[in-house]
């Protein structure tokens, strides 16, 4: 029961939020940011929780999506019907290329290699002088939908993010339960067993990377739109670490945990940064403690005891 109730409540709360005191500009911005990062975290949770592939370079896919928006914007193209497929396709392609190499290894190698590829994307973005280099790039306008400036409206943007988040979440949950996900989950538990029944895990894992990459690209487009500004820091490895933390904070066992984790992360960051300029000094130890003592994650707290 709760497996369905928790995500349902979560989405209902996000849908009602604008009318429950979160209707102000700043609060909505914050929520949009949480939903966008939550979307990327759901994709990452598919990789980490579903396939057992710990990627420490996931922010790069967000960055590729965001920089695709920038590249099109610099050429005067802001139509969503073009921006979205190009950005998502670019991020998926990036995930395909880096995944194809990274998946030749496993475990600790995989972590290091994804981190290295993420860093490669970061430095490449920093060297793009035409798009502002280290200083970043300010978008002229948000992405248009069918020639209209619909996304300029905060409320519309809120519900666009929510709708896409729900779509991504439902797709990933279905994929994990379907045949595809069964192979992934089995390969996480025991790759030899999977090979010995006749599956080569590689193409399944690679496709999982591509799906997560495409979702990352989508969140990159939304993030660029939310801030109307794109900088290499989108791709920094700290951002990848934060995404991973959101997934773990929410709990690896379920995909909605990733959304809970993202919400908790963004709110915690907001709250702490109001308390002190050096909020990371509080946040770092909090992270260490949560790893050492809080293994089930937020979703674990809300889940029935027997699991």
């Amino acid at each position: 029961m709760r497996e369905r109730a928790v995500p349902l409540l979560l989405f209902a709360a996000l849908a009602a939020a604008p009318f429950l005191g979160f209707g102000e500009g700043y609060a909505l911005t914050l929520l949009a940011r949480a939903m966008i990062l939550g979307m990327a975290a759901v994709g990452l949770a598919l990789l980490v929780g579903g396939a057992g592939l710990v990627s420490l370079g996931h922010a790069a896919t967000l960055g590729v999506g965001a920089y695709a928006v920038v590249a099109l914007d610099a050429n005067g193209i802001v139509e969503g019907a073009l921006v979205l497929p190009v950005a998502i396709g670019a991020a998926a392609l990036f995930a395909l290329a880096t995944g194809a190499v990274s998946l030749r290894t496993s475990g600790v190698h995989f972590i290091m290699i994804t981190l290295a590829f993420g860093q490669m994307a970061f430095f490449t973005a920093s060297s793009l002088a035409a798009y502002g280099g280290d200083d970043g790039y300010t978008l002229y306008a948000r992405t248009e939908l069918g020639g209209t400036r619909l996304l300029e409206d905060r409320l519309v943007f809120h519900y666009a993010c929510l709708g896409l988040l729900a779509l991504v979440f439902l797709f990933c949950r279905a994929a994990l339960a379907a045949r595809f996900g069964r192979v992934l989950r089995a390969a996480r538990e025991n790759p030899l067993r999977v090979r010995a029944v006749g599956f080569d895990p590689y193409p399944y894992r690679l496709l999982a990377c591509v799906i997560a990459g495409a979702i990352g690209g989508l969140s990159g487009v939304l993030l660029a739109n939310a801030t109307e500004f794109v900088a290499p820091s989108y791709l920094s490895w700290q951002r990848s670490g934060e995404l991973l933390f959101m997934v773990i904070l929410g709990g690896l066992g379920s995909l909605h945990g990733a959304i809970l984790g993202a919400l908790a992360y963004v709110l915690l960051e907001e709250w702490l940064s109001h308390l002190t300029e050096h909020w990371r000094m509080v946040f770092g130890p909090l992270l260490v403690l949560s790893v050492l003592f809080f293994r089930g994650g937020l979703a674990g707290l809300l889940a029935p005891r027997r699991r």
Partner: protein, 307 residues
């Protein structure tokens, strides 16, 4: 590019390479012996630089500063091992990644709190000031040559320690057959602590040595950390020899690529796009090298663990 410039850049690359090696050596041993992925190894490098700069300023002597920075870095490494890392040895790599990521957040911010966000300077000692003439009309800073020499000497010392002493033999055996070493009745915990503290000191030494030629600032350890990962992936986990070869390779490739590629591309492109594309490709070069090595040898050039 002239031959003189090429020589200078090659020396810069080698110097960068030996510094990388000092960071990577500790990291690869910690991986190999303990199967522990320590993202916080880069902050050891940063702490070394801060300790060196501060202690040199306090004592008024570069040499005393460098000498005192070593036990300080060692103590910092021991403290981290006792407080955080030893609770993570039995955990999965994901937990290790996140907890050590938390340590980075804390220490990067802590350094900012303690020393301020502005970069520190550490003066070059009078003895090593000035340059030597490599060729008529070509001056090269003595201090950079000294870094190169000190790095190579440390590498030699490390090789003797690991290859010729009992402790070194245990470390090598631990990297290849940890279960057997444990079965021999060796106190693995103490061996871990030893390797760990030693690796921390090496990274700290690299940081302190690099301090006069770099700006000492928060987060300065992140970039070397990720390059050290690349080095380890190329060289093979747990292999000192692999780390040495790969460090020099990465150092040379990165430095020469940045210096030469824009010039090289000018043969085909107009100056401005050549500069841009050159910078972008140069920043990807070491990662492309890593991908190429992995494509041919997934376990790295010198895999320590056979099979």
């Amino acid at each position: 590019m002239s031959a003189e410039l090429l020589l200078v850049q090659a020396l810069n690359g080698l110097q960068f390479g030996v510094l990388l090696f000092l960071v990577a050596a500790g990291l690869t041993l910690v991986f190999g012996v303990m199967d522990f992925i320590n993202l916080a190894h880069g902050v050891q490098y940063m702490l070394g630089a801060y300790f060196g700069a501060t202690l040199a300023a306090a004592t008024g002597s570069f040499w005393l500063g460098l000498l005192l920075a070593l036990p300080a870095a060692l103590a910092a490494g021991l403290a981290l091992e006792l407080l955080v890392f030893r609770h993570l040895y039995g955990r999965d790599h994901l937990a290790q990644v996140l907890a050590t990521f938390g340590v980075i957040l804390f220490l990067n911010e802590g350094v900012k709190l303690a020393w301020g966000a502005a970069p520190l300077q550490m003066p070059v000692p009078p003895l090593l000031e000035g340059g030597v003439a490599l060729m008529p009309g070509l001056q090269y800073p003595v201090y950079r040559l000294a870094i190169l020499a000190a790095g190579l000497a440390t590498a030699l010392l490390l090789w003797v320690l690991v290859d010729r002493t009992r402790a070194g033999m245990l470390v090598r055996a631990g990297a290849t057959h940890p279960d057997i070493v444990a079965a021999l009745g060796v106190d693995i915990r103490r061996l871990f602590l030893l390797v760990f503290a030693f690796g921390a000191m090496l990274a700290g030494f690299a940081g302190a040595m690099a301090a006069p030629v770099l700006s000492v600032e928060p987060g300065m350890g992140d970039a070397p950390l990720i390059l050290a990962f690349v080095v380890i992936v190329i060289g093979g986990i747990g292999s000192i020899r692999g780390a040495f070869v790969a460090s020099l390779l990465v150092g040379l490739m990165d430095t020469l690529g940045r210096a030469a590629l824009p010039d090289l591309l000018r043969l085909f492109l107009a100056p401005s796009p050549a500069r841009q594309a050159g910078a972008a490709i140069a920043s990807m070069l070491v990662y492309i090298l890593m991908a190429a090595v992995l494509a041919v040898r997934p376990a790295g050039l010198f895999p320590a663990r056979a099979g």
